[in-house]
């Protein structure tokens, strides 16, 4: 099976050279713009000085925690920022597709609706690739993705499309969910028949059902 290069996928997904804010559908009442990327500036000297201080602290009976290198911290922040921008861009496209699908339902145009939903489904994989922005965000995307896979090609109902549209719009306004918050969306999805219900999870776990109760979990 051939693998689509990320670049190619990107180009397929991008509809126009618009900014993420412009991609939000007209019904969106508010939009939280991504923060400007202003990396925290640390000089090499400052890093060195800080590390030395920590080492000294450790030597004096400190916590023993390893200091995080500024290089690692900076890279993580950059990656997070890239993922955030990408996620917002993709969520904008997803919101647009679902809005179009809803309009198509109103016009009784099932072909246009199916076409928009296919476009939406293609966004789920790249959206999951932005999962570094948080477990809550990743969990909602993963649940939607698996739930759609579980339908084995059966078309989504109007209620399901509406629920997805509502959730995607909420994510667009604030993708930084914690895990508990994501469970609210997962429950909403489950109520309209878009649940995890994947028997593989069960089978995988039941293969392990012989686990001794004395096994340590931690």
């Amino acid at each position: 099976m051939t693998t689509l290069p990320t670049r190619l996928m990107d180009s397929k997904l991008t509809r126009s050279e618009t900014t993420p804010a412009e991609l939000v559908d007209s019904n969106t009442t508010s939009f939280a713009s991504p923060p400007e990327t202003k990396p925290i500036m640390f000089s090499r000297e400052a890093t060195f000085t800080g590390s030395t201080s920590l080492a000294e602290f450790k030597g004096q009976g400190g916590t023993g925690a390893k200091p995080i290198s500024i290089d690692v911290l900076y890279q993580a922040r950059e990656a997070g920022s890239r993922n955030f921008n990408r996620a917002i861009e993709l969520l904008g496209l997803a919101s647009e597709s679902l809005s179009e699908a809803r309009d198509a339902i109103g016009d009784n145009d099932r072909v246009a609706c199916a076409s928009e939903l296919m476009r939406f489904e293609q966004l789920l994989q790249p959206l999951f690739e932005c999962r570094e922005i948080g477990d809550g965000f990743a969990n909602v995307i993963n649940t939607i993705h698996i739930a759609i896979a579980n339908r084995n090609g059966e078309p989504l109902t109007d209620v399901q499309i509406n629920t997805l549209w509502r959730i995607v719009r909420t994510l667009l306004n604030g993708p930084f969910l914690n895990f508990s918050e994501s469970l609210v969306f997962v429950r909403d999805l489950s109520k309209v028949g878009l649940g995890l219900n994947n028997s593989f999870f069960q089978e995988w776990a039941s293969e392990s059902s012989t686990v001794g109760t004395e096994q340590s979990v931690r």
């Binding site: 099976m1 995890l196 028997s199």
Partner: protein
């Protein structure tokens, strides 16, 4: 007209909270047949130590290794699975996910681990939240057991403690159980000579209560009671609802009670 009642055991709880498919639907349907369904906290305790704990264990492996493949191999070793063909099982995992717009070749091992980890985490937290809404009533709280839920740790793993009751004191059920020596003897005699460790331990626990009332009834004895707990504590006007009818039926009959399978 008397209300119909069911005394729900651990297998039904596990079926409703963590499983899917026909057996899950049958369990839910069976619960709806009764006016009142009673879930003893003992069943929650057993479930948390058993199937729920397995889900936490899997989640933590996925988090720790960041790899579906490594987790699968680790679990195979740990659980001594008969089916050790981890590669074949991984392929099954990929096919099972069958994600639209995600060709199998681009679903990497770390991504698969994350997808499974998130799914397990959802099942863990959702099922815990729902445990007391499976039945109409949750009954018989245990004085020596703290029903506390899973917690996230700083490293991203889930802490499932406490999984057991407090070990420092005698089991809070002991006093009540010792009151009915006849029932204990009847239950002990009703356990079939299957040779299973589980049955042997249950027989010993019942004997300890009936024959040695002054010896301390400990945590391991309470755990060994298992199915016998449901026969002993089910109200006389309630059916014991279980998917494990084979083990429950002789115990229920011994005490003139009824066990029912969905």
């Amino acid at each position: 007209m008397a209300q119909s009642k069911a005394f729900v055991d651990t297998t039904i709880l596990a079926e409703v909270l963590l499983k899917t498919g026909p057996s899950h639907e049958a369990a839910e349907k069976a619960l709806r047949l009764y006016d009142q369904t009673l879930l003893p906290v003992f069943a929650i305790k057993e479930w948390k130590r058993g199937q729920f704990n397995t889900y936490v264990l899997i989640h933590n492996y996925l988090k720790r290794t960041g790899s579906f493949s490594a987790t699968n191999i680790a679990l195979s070793r740990l659980f001594m699975r008969r089916r050790l063909q981890s590669t074949a099982f991984e392929a099954l995992g990929l096919v099972s996910l069958n994600l639209p717009s995600a060709p199998m070749a681009i679903v990497s091992d770390p991504e698969l681990a994350d997808r499974f980890r998130l799914a397990f985490k959802t099942l863990i937290y959702s099922s815990w939240e729902s445990r007391r809404s499976v039945t109409s009533d949750t009954v018989m709280d245990l004085e020596c057991y703290v029903e506390s839920g899973p917690r996230d740790q700083i490293n991203g793993e889930i802490d499932n403690r406490p999984r057991d009751c407090k070990g420092e004191q005698e089991c809070c059920l002991a006093k009540q159980l010792r009151k009915d020596k006849d029932a204990l003897i009847k239950l002990r005699d009703a356990i079939p000579p299957s040779g299973k460790t589980e049955d042997t331990r249950r027989r010993e626990a019942l004997k300890k209560l009936a024959v040695h009332p002054n010896s301390r009834f400990e945590r391991k004895d309470c755990q060994a009671l298992g199915d016998a707990y449901f026969a002993l504590f089910a109200p006389t006007d309630a059916d014991i609802l279980t998917t494990n009818i084979k083990d429950h039926l002789p115990l229920a009959i011994a005490l003139g009670k009824k066990a029912v399978s969905p």
